[in-house]
């Protein structure tokens, strides 16, 4: 990766996007005309809401009393001893209501939906975590909710499908294309195109058309703001390295964004390498993709020589997406964030290690980040502070893990 030269380095890495929704050459609003008025209305509503103390107060109230924030910053003592190097902290967003960071964003977006007078909620989901979080806030605010989920993902995430139904959501199986997350997002966009008046689309990642990458980032930045205050109070200084997994990239952006302008904080993002980035089964958009236009934004994308989108693969359904948020693509190109990868097997080993050493079952998504922590921690001095984002808990993954380990649950 190239470091930005003094001439190209921006004054701030936190100023984006520009008023057209671009981070450098990435982002934008590549959507059909039918959606454009909706996208503009959402942008205007958010611009107003973010300045409104009443909106902020309601958001903060729900994050504290409904979600359970702030989440702890936990010193993982035994993990640190195990690797014998850097001091490892885990940001415990898996302790949130619904078990992942996804709810932070859903609370913010449903408050926007209510302000805009929308009466119906839709969302896409891959692993089901964003679907569960969306169904949860829809129930809490009494709005009907439709979740689009690929038929393939429904089969491998049955507990979450049932959870969404218990919460009153209608889970619509997506049978088009490859029947996974990208197709669920296509289908949710089609629904939004068809119901522009009454429907609010809660996108779960820092991907999609502007303003979503910005507003999801803003709602997830509570992770990084808390982590910053917590590490300052615990250690009296900023961390040396941040680590988070990226699919679309919302948990990573949430942790990273408040630290982007701290030049001494190294930032590492970890993509899912599936069977390996030199095989054709992985989800590493930065490592093996090229810039493209997909789901409303220009960003790095897994695509073939004809510009057709390639299906991603990861053991973790939450990272199983062929694109990545546009702000990540920009942070990669300007050299502010270093991108790494971890394979399915590496994530699986990290999953088991954390369970045994710390008594925490991490989701398979942050297990990718934990593998990377294990790669760098032994090489770093004991006073080097690492914060890794533990963005979800592993209960949802026990079936997938059992299958890969060749074990029966019952």
């Amino acid at each position: 990766m190239t470091q930005a030269t003094a001439a190209t380095r921006p004054n701030s890495y936190r100023a984006g996007p520009d008023d057209r929704g671009f981070f450098g050459s990435f982002g934008g609003r590549f959507v059909a005309e039918t959606l454009m008025p909706n996208v503009l209305a959402l942008e205007a509503a958010y611009a107003k809401a973010r300045q409104d103390p009443a909106f902020i107060a309601e958001l903060d109230y729900l994050l504290e009393h409904y979600v359970g924030r702030p989440s702890p910053l936990y010193y993982a003592e035994r993990l640190t001893e195990h690797f014998g190097g850097a001091k490892i902290y885990l940001k415990r967003d898996e302790l949130n209501h619904t078990g992942a960071h996804k709810i932070n964003n859903c609370i913010g977006q449903i408050l926007l939906a209510m302000r805009m007078g929308k009466t119906r909620i839709i969302a896409e989901t891959g692993a089901g975590q964003h679907g569960v979080a969306t169904a949860t806030v829809a129930a809490r605010f009494g709005l009907p909710c439709v979740i689009y989920m690929g038929e393939v993902d429904m089969a491998r995430q049955k507990p979450n499908v049932f959870r969404m139904r218990l919460l009153g959501a209608e889970v619509r199986p997506v049978v088009s294309g490859s029947r996974t997350l990208k197709d669920a997002m296509n289908e949710a966009i089609r629904d939004w195109v068809s119901n522009p008046e009454d429907t609010f689309y809660i996108i779960g990642s820092v991907a999609g058309m502007h303003p979503y990458p910005m507003l999801v980032r803003d709602f997830q930045s509570v992770i990084g703001r808390e982590a910053r205050a917590q590490i300052l109070s615990r250690e009296g200084r900023l961390p040396d390295t941040l680590v988070a997994c990226v699919g679309g990239g919302s948990n990573a952006m949430g942790l990273f964004h408040p630290f982007l302008d701290d030049p001494d904080v190294r930032i590492h993002a970890v993509e899912a390498a599936g069977d390996g980035i030199d095989t054709d089964r992985h989800a590493a958009a930065i490592a093996r993709g090229t810039p493209g236009v997909f789901h409303g934004a220009r960003s790095y994308l897994l695509q073939d020589s004809d510009g057709q989108v390639i299906e991603a693969h990861s053991i973790s359904a939450g990272l199983d997406y062929p694109g990545i948020g546009p702000e990540h693509s920009w942070l990669h190109e300007v050299g502010r964030v270093d991108f790494h990868t971890a394979t399915d097997l590496e994530a699986l080993a990290a999953f088991q290690l954390l369970a045994k050493l710390e008594g925490i079952l991490p989701a398979l998504e942050p297990s990718h980040a934990l593998h990377h922590v294990g790669r760098i921690a032994p090489t770093l001095p004991k006073d080097h502070l690492i914060i890794a984002n533990l963005c979800g808990r592993g209960d949802k993954d026990i079936f997938a893990v059992a299958e890969r380990l060749g074990q029966e649950i019952l």
């Binding site: 059909a32 039918t34 454009m36 296509n186 195109v193 068809s194 008046e197 004809d306 510009g307 989108v309």
Partner: protein
């Protein structure tokens, strides 16, 4: 952008001829390479005689997010049978060797063009004999990087107006449009609901007040009777999903059989349109 460069283009000639005949045009959408290269070429060759005035040719894309199930399926059939930007442009060139007058509008999503390279695409598409571009996911806010060079290369750039395009926006949408304006008759994806005539009429009046370009109406038009009703109001009627469904129904058959099934349907639609305004 001035229209001077394109005044003698196939699209303006086509609409002048339609005006002289006093009838609306029929724009037929099919996907390039659907269900296979041979059948797709046979369909293209048959369309003008069956009554198509303009051919809208879909450039297949893996993730057509503004299209309904019928057009998604046609895109996948084309890709599975080896379709690509290269084969799409090859199809245009093969058609153009035998037909010099029927305009071809290339329809699709931006990524395959962006990946092929904008300059290279414009050069190759122009040489193949395409006349206009309609790129669904390039709204006026994002189309500059393709529209400006496309105009310079001599292409018409078709813009979409939808029921959700309000008065404030409509001027902006029409500003960079050329060739014709495509009015999307429903808020939704292709081939799903049927348009409401009163709404279509009101919206066409709204567009006519701001633009002298011919108006084509599409999305949700499947039957000859519907085509006739729309032809009373618009300068052209676009039919797509009904045609690619016909392709899908006959996908296992011979190229001739598929082409004749599609062309029979086109003939019926053209007859419907011919009965309008009489």
């Amino acid at each position: 952008m001035s229209n001077d460069l394109r005044d003698d283009g196939r699209i303006s000639k086509c609409f002048e001829a339609l005006k002289a005949k006093g009838r609306a045009g029929l724009v037929t959408f099919v996907t390039a390479g659907d269900p296979n290269p041979a059948a797709s070429l046979a369909i293209l060759k048959g369309l003008p005689d069956a009554g198509a005035d303009i051919i809208e040719l879909g450039m297949p894309f893996s993730d057509p997010m503004a299209d309904g199930p019928a057009i998604q399926a046609s895109s996948l059939r084309a890709l599975h049978s080896g379709g690509s930007m290269k084969t799409t442009l090859g199809l245009v060139a093969a058609f153009r060797r035998e037909n010099a007058h029927t305009p071809i509008v290339l329809f699709g999503y931006y990524n395959p063009i962006f990946h092929y390279g904008v300059e290279r695409f414009l050069k190759d598409a122009r040489e193949a004999g395409a006349d206009a571009l309609l790129i669904v996911d390039l709204p006026p806010e994002e189309d500059r990087e393709l529209r400006d060079p496309a105009h310079l290369a001599g292409f018409d750039f078709i813009r979409l107006v939808t029921p959700t395009t309000d008065d404030e926006r409509i001027g902006r949408v029409l500003e960079g449009a050329s060739g014709f304006v495509y009015y999307v008759s429903i808020a939704g994806i292709t081939g799903t609901r049927a348009p409401d005539l009163a709404t279509v009429r009101a919206n066409l009046d709204r567009i006519r007040a701001k633009s002298g370009l011919p108006l084509a109406v599409g999305f949700g038009i499947r039957e000859p009777a519907q085509a006739k009703a729309i032809a009373e109001l618009a300068d052209a009627v676009v039919v797509g999903s009904a045609l690619v469904e016909e392709v899908g129904r006959h996908q296992g058959a011979s190229a001739e059989k598929i082409a004749s099934a599609v062309c029979d349907l086109v003939r019926a639609l053209a007859q419907g349109i011919a009965q309008a305004r009489t």
